[in-house]
């Protein structure tokens, strides 16, 4: 047990180090964007009619702490996030990023996680069928579909479905809510409305992830199926589903759990473009807004940090899960027990 706790602590420590490196990369990127927050803010004020002098910019820089050295500001950014969970203010929107993001990020996360779960629910049985089927044509066509999942990028799928819906049903199916619920507080009706619309982004985001997961599962099953222990089990007279679930499927589960983090990464990666097409009002769309339109470095940094932090957390959880589930890793962790 002590070994296990030690393992968990080491993993947690490593995750935090990864997160710190990511923080540093993200923060340096934010710094590299031409222009500072102070200049942006004052440029905005300038358009409102007030005269801006050089001294004003300097004063604003001091107020925002931009006169301090790079490392100091980096430390402050990180410690604000770690201690106060505060991402500071958005440069352009003049709002606290926490208020801006709180609801939306949870919404994005829900959609992505549901998409992830669905893709695994489909990919695992279909992958097993593809790997073990007697019919070559079935395997080949499943393989073709999974390749199509890569070749048809999900923004293309989103685009096609949306155009199709617009032309033949008159409803664009865009957005996460219909108009009457857009700004309404959460209620049973709003949840219903949300579910009626959320299937499209979930399907589109899950589409690629399913294809990838399918390939992983298929390859793993093919590998395991030829191994001696499976042959031994077959020789003992176990066959069919009970053989599959007891031996190769169980063994392939470990690497599949390991790949969850990367599949989530892929879904997050697809999120902004899909959000742009489907006009979702969540964090992904905000990211595009922040980067492509307004160059809002604070907001963009915060979103990328949150996405990455989620992935790091999921990786941490899957590592622990694997240590509990897989006897081989458990033995390594617990030390021979």
């Amino acid at each position: 047990m002590i070994n296990f706790i030690q393992f968990t602590i080491t993993r947690a420590f490593l995750s935090i180090v990864t997160l710190l490196i990511v923080c540093f990369i993200v923060f340096s990127l934010m710094e590299l964007v031409p222009g500072t927050c102070a200049e942006r803010y004052l440029a905005f004020k300038n358009t409102q009619g007030s005269q801006i002098t050089f001294e004003d910019i300097e004063a604003e820089k001091v107020r925002l702490g931009l006169d301090k050295p790079f490392l100091y500001r980096f430390g402050k950014w990180v410690s604000d996030i770690a201690v106060k969970q505060d991402f500071g203010d958005s440069c352009i929107l003049r709002m606290n990023i926490n208020d801006l993001l709180s609801g939306r990020f949870v919404l994005s996360l829900t959609i992505c996680l549901v998409a992830l779960i669905f893709s695994y629910l489909i990919a695992i049985p279909v992958g097993i069928i593809s790997a073990t089927t007697k019919y070559v044509s079935l395997d080949q066509s499943l393989k073709f579909i999974s390749y199509l999942g890569i070749a048809l990028p999900n923004f293309l799928v989103a685009l096609c479905i949306m155009l199709f819906m617009t032309v033949y049903y008159g409803d664009t199916m865009t957005g996460l809510f219909s108009q009457e619920y857009e700004n309404a507080p959460w209620s049973a009706d709003k949840v219903k409305d949300f579910l009626a619309r959320a299937w499209l982004p979930i399907f589109v985001l899950g589409w690629n992830a399913t294809a990838f997961a399918l390939q992983t599962v298929r390859a793993l099953m093919l590998d395991e199926n030829d191994k001696l222990y499976v042959m031994a089990a077959r020789a003992r007279g176990i066959s069919g589903m009970s053989l599959l679930w007891r031996y190769p499927a169980k063994h392939s589960l470990g690497p599949v759990i390991n790949s969850i983090g990367f599949d989530l990464n892929r879904i997050f990666s697809a999120l902004p473009v899909v959000a742009l097409i489907l006009i979702l009002t969540e964090a992904g769309a905000l990211l595009i807004e922040a980067l492509a339109r307004s160059n809002d470095q604070q907001l963009a940094g915060a979103i990328i940090f949150l996405l990455t932090a989620t992935i790091v957390f999921v990786n941490f959880v899957t590592d622990i899960l694997l240590a509990i589930m897989d006897p081989r890793i458990r033995k390594g962790v617990m030390g021979g027990s």
Binding site: L14, V17, T18, I21, V22, I25, V26, L29, L32, V33, P34, Q140, Y147, L148, I150, A151, L152, P153, F155, L156, L159, L163, F164, T166, V167, G261, N265, R266, F268, S269, A270, L271, P272, V273, L276, I277, L287, I288, L291, A292, N295, A300, I303, I304, L307, T308, I311, V312, N315
Partner: protein
Amino acid sequence: MEVSIKKKEAYYTATQMQLVRTRFFGNRSAMIAGSILLFMIVCSLFSGFLSPYDPTIAGRDKNYENGAPQIPMFWDENGFSPRPFLHTLTKYRGADTNFRWVYKTDTEKRRYVYFFVKGWEYKYFNYSINLPGKALDFTIPGLTFDTHLFGVEEGGIHLFGTDKAGKDLFSRTLSAIYISLAVGTLGVFISFVLSLIIGGISGYYGGWIDSLLQMFTDAIRTVPPIPLFMCLAAFAPLEWSSELRFFFISCLLGLISWPTLARRVRTHLLSERSQEYILAAKMCGASSTHIIIRHLLPSFTSYIIVDLVISFPYMLLSETALSFIGLGLREPVNSLGVLLQNATKADVLLNYQWYFIPVFFLVVLILTFVYVGDGLRDAADPHKTKN
């Protein structure tokens, strides 16, 4: 009996590359995909010769905007012709068409398609280098051609139709495939060099250098790539020239996608460096560089090639996604993502379906790449005996 022994002998004396080649040629789906891919690459390389019009705004057809594809035919109600021809179209609008421009087909007037005609000029090996300072600007003239595979004498021939500015979609698609492949190649090359250096150092030296570099690589791998791309692509100022933008986007693709390959290189090196032949080389007094270049790199060349081919479609997809949202390449450069941008409106699906033709080529290009990559991976895997 004689034959089977010979076969066995050939099998056991074959080099690694020969084995890979035999296995790859035996894989039917990979071979089909490979031929399609090769065909597309050759077409894109000769895009200047194959396309009847300049793919940029210079080649637009003012009299045929948003025009439907024109397919050359051999016969109509007036009879058969050995030379393919098109009917003449005239632009017309009036009260009966609700004052919208429509094209009327005049089946009496035939326009014949001619081959190897002279048309717009295209150049190969033409580079102009603009370094700071007047004296350093110079241009390599390269080779200029103006012969095209086909064309018509009057009016236009638009196999895939035209877009809203009247640019020929067939020519644009060909040049877009070329540009997208070029961006991908440059990106793959940059990520290849980076991953060789970083993965090589990490795998060969091991120890704390390895742990440090691996931590860094893993951290980059956890950041979702497209948001990171977007973040970096937003640096490119709007006033940059299209060539500079092209180069910048390729560099970004390379800079972000190296970690996966670097990890593979490291794993190979870690398992190879404890082999006896490396020890032998060390005992002969060979230097580290010599061992890496002469012994370690050749030991996994086939793996690297396979990984490069596999990573290619992701480069194409990333470029497409970036250009699609307007952060990647922009007009006047054609790329598949730029062409996709035009197909985002419901109007297009109802009236101008031919805008989707480039989408088809994108999907085929990526599918063939994935199939070829998969075939190569299977062929390069020495443990795989069947398939």
